[in-house]
């Protein structure tokens, strides 16, 4: 009887909606698993024998080197900015987040443009100083170059996570280490690095997932990875089966990475803690130490933001008359339209799932929460081939219905934007969910419980109490998802309808067609919008956390 009572209590609109959404999120993974274990074709045997090892080693080298370098740069910057007071610190504290506004593929072609034969460095050397340098010294279109690009534009993930951790979690430990006479370097290696372990592992796994998901940098630099191979087998060779097998192998890599993260973290979690623990009081640096700290931070900021940004501004001035036409405004409209619609949908789905997982506790809700969070680990290209397969299947089904009723068959989904938006929702739901879940956590359950004890149903409570109180988290989630979609490349490349371009895909197409200068205007708009959003988001969330 208790079971029936429990079932009756647990069966409600929230569980039904959440289950449907989770099923949609799981579809790509299930499809990949189904094809992964299917009978292989000849193409796959060829890929396995001649390509797979290269693809795997390239991917691993990129992950490991980028992981190490972003850790060194991100953690050291976070430590310097948190623990010391030096000239320009307040500006740099925020400025060092800004490289996140530059999608790595834009950074890649900008640096290639700066360094190539006609770029500003070589032409200045030739024209002003008559110096002719061997091209090999300026060649970044290789794995080393890709690692440099990923490091420069992904290190802020590490910086933000570690800085937040250091600022909130560890003031007393670090201050004690100082009082006990540990020097700056000693404190960093003996205290800061070990206690930041969970934050560092969290940062490394986010960065590794970004590297795995990348298409723009590796394609532009001609490096073979899983994503380029999936593109090639599917678009180039029209071999969906092998693309699925590659996707399946990539998912194995992702799962291993997540297991590594879980294992390395143990039971600890890093968090953007909002508890009001006293932050570290920064120590004032003087003399050469202050100069060194400012120079180090400024140097990283210049390479990761200012230099590519200025170059893009210059290229925009050179080309805007040709580029900024009616068509360009249509690009902006397209980008904003898909990003806004998808972000709204994601926020709605995220609010429903997180409301369900917080009100109703149990194993099922835990599984739902876990699956929602895992969505971001699935690379865009993997989602893309699964989504397209599902929609092509739906179109076939519709066509058979049309022909049954002797109507003219039309393709509904394959050519529509619905497919792209669905894929965005699956890929970026995690981002929205994390933000809204954090919001719910912050407000707690007592308001909802108070409302229910006053005779108001969960649905009505949701609209009258939860939503108004969650406004900030909903807006934050929307902004984060919006900029992620604005910058997105692989998914959009694969799923954009015919003749439909976004700012990101157009910029990449120009760059790929050796029209680097022409790619600047679209890139600059992405960077400006993302930069403003990122800056204000972090400023507001830091203010909210009492720092």
């Amino acid at each position: 009887m208790r079971l029936i009572q429990q079932a009756k209590q647990k069966l409600n609109i929230w569980v039904l909606l959440s289950s449907v959404f989770i099923l949609i999120i799981l579809l790509p993974t299930m499809l990949v698993a189904k094809h992964f274990f299917a009978e292989p074709n000849e193409n796959w045997l060829h890929i396995k024998e001649y390509l797979l090892l290269d693809i795997l080693s390239n991917t691993l080298v990129l992950i490991i080197l980028t992981g190490v370098l972003t850790t060194i740069i991100g953690v050291s910057l976070a430590w310097v900015v948190t623990a010391y007071q030096f000239p320009l610190r307040n500006f740099l504290k925020w400025a060092l987040i800004l490289p996140l506004a530059i999608p790595p593929f834009i950074g890649a072609y900008t640096y290639q443009g700066i360094l190539d034969y006609t770029g500003i460095i070589q032409s200045t050397l030739r024209n002003a100083f008559d110096i002719h340098v061997d091209q090999k010294y300026f060649d970044i279109m290789n794995i080393g170059g890709a690692v440099f690009i990923f490091t420069m534009f992904l290190f802020p993930y590490m910086y933000v996570i570690t800085r937040s951790f250091l600022a909130n979690q560890s003031a007393s430990i670090i201050e004690n280490a100082r009082i006990l006479g540990g020097g700056s370097v000693g404190t960093f290696f003996r205290i800061v690095l070990p206690i930041s372990r969970t934050a560092i592992i969290g940062g490394v796994s986010i960065i590794a997932l970004e590297v795995i998901n990348d298409y723009g940098v590796v394609k532009y630099f001609g490096i073979q990875t899983f994503i380029t191979a999936i593109f090639q087998t599917w678009s180039g060779m029209s071999d969906l089966e092998s693309a699925f097998k590659l996707a399946g192998t990539l998912m194995v890599v992702v799962i291993l990475l997540l297991l590594f993260e879980k294992f390395a973290r143990g039971r600890k979690r890093y968090s953007y803690s909002s508890t009001k623990i006293k932050p570290i009081t920064p120590k004032r640096l003087t003399g050469y130490k202050a100069t060194m700290a400012t120079t180090y931070c400024l140097a990283v900021f210049s390479f990761a933001f200012m230099i590519p940004f200025i170059q893009l501004v210059l290229w925009t001035f050179m080309t805007y008359e040709k580029i900024v036409t009616v068509e360009f405004f249509a690009l902006i409209k397209n980008s904003f339209f898909v990003a806004a619609i998808s972000s709204i949908l994601i926020v709605i789905v995220a609010v429903i799932i997180s409301n369900y997982t917080r009100i109703y506790q149990g194993i099922y809700t835990k599984v739902i929460a876990k699956i929602t969070v895992l969505g971001y680990s699935i690379p865009g290209a993997v989602i893309a081939i699964s989504v397209i397969t599902i929609f092509v299947g739906l179109d076939k089904y519709l066509m058979s219905i049309f022909s049954y009723f002797q109507m003219d068959p039309i393709i509904v989904f394959r050519t529509s934007i619905v497919m792209l938006i669905t894929a965005y929702v699956i890929r970026f739901l995690t981002v929205g969910y994390n933000s809204i879940e954090a919001g719910f956590e912050k407000i707690g359950n007592s308001f909802t419980e108070a409302s229910r004890s006053l005779g108001v149903s969960t649905v009505k409570t949701f609209f009258k109490v939860d939503i108004p109180m969650l406004k900030g988290a909903i807006f934050g989630g929307f902004i984060l998802v919006f900029i992620d979609i604005l910058k997105e490349l692989p998914l959009t490349m694969l799923l954009q309808p015919f003749n439909f371009f976004t700012l990101a895909t157009k910029a990449f197409r120009y760059a790929n067609d050796e029209m680097v200068n022409e790619a600047a205007s679209a890139s600059l708009i992405i960077i400006l919008i993302s930069g403003i959003c990122i800056f204000f988001f972090h400023k507001i969330s830091e203010k909210g956390s009492g720092q």
Partner: protein, 239 residues
């Protein structure tokens, strides 16, 4: 008896020991009962079971001869007609005092709702604060608004979870006597859970001692001072 709790048991699925075990209690209409126990004794779980936010493993609860939970019934929290004042008050921060109090009023015309809000505001002596938001009120004022909000729909039973723990000492004394007066004036059957003996003595008609989820002694407020509970408390022993 107006409230009847019989053999109530609650156990977490992974735990070997019950949080609430074989708890029985009867309360008369208009009576104020204090449940006194240390933290971890199961006080808050008991309130959550009464209000319907948790489902008991066994046992039954009935109010005014209506069963709200037993083997065959489970009335959802929003349909129980039981009010609760939370430890942190849980006043909706985006609503004014008036809107907070009006929130639980249903099946009334606009005028009737406003009349009820005015009655409540005068009861808690905060008429001039009706358009303020919770953050514009002091701790004591917030506590009174939370009480008015819970009282407004005329609940058959009103529960209080450590109602004074967030107040300064001098405010606690003032609010205690005010609260008892209001509850007696409105003839509201109430249960307080608290770990503070002074709260229990000042407010309750009857005190129930709770130890590890099991009902211990039942005392009159005047008997608490000379009880074993106080003896153990003073000598630092756990009850």
């Amino acid at each position: 008896m107006f409230v009847q709790i019989k053999n109530l048991k609650y156990q977490y699925s992974k735990s070997a020991k019950a949080v609430i075990d074989n708890f029985s209690l009867s309360i008369k209409k208009g009576e104020i009962v204090s449940i006194l126990g240390e933290s971890g004794s199961g006080k808050s779980t008991l309130l959550r079971l009464l209000v319907g936010l948790e489902m008991p493993s066994s046992g039954s609860i009935s109010i005014n001869e209506n069963i709200i939970v037993d083997r065959h019934h489970f009335v959802q929290p929003e349909k129980r007609g039981i009010g609760i004042v939370f430890q942190d008050y849980a006043l909706f921060p985006h609503m004014t005092v008036t809107k907070n109090i009006k929130y639980g009023l249903k099946k009334m015309s606009k005028m009737e709702k406003q009349k009820r809000v005015d009655e409540m505001l005068s009861l808690i002596s905060l008429t001039e604060y009706q358009n303020r938001y919770p953050y514009e009120l002091s701790g004591g004022q917030q506590q009174r608004v939370a009480l008015a909000r819970a009282l407004a729909p005329a609940p058959s039973l009103l529960l209080f979870d450590e109602p004074f723990s967030n107040l300064d000492a001098h405010l606690q004394i003032k609010i205690r006597s005010e609260l008892r007066e209001i509850l007696k004036h409105t003839n509201t059957t109430s249960i307080f859970v608290t770990h503070d003996q002074t709260d229990a003595v000042a407010l309750a008609d009857r005190i129930i001692l709770l130890e590890n989820g099991i009902v211990g002694n039942e005392l009159l407020p005047s008997e608490l001072e000379s009880s074993n509970y106080m003896l153990k408390y003073r000598t630092g022993l756990r009850i």
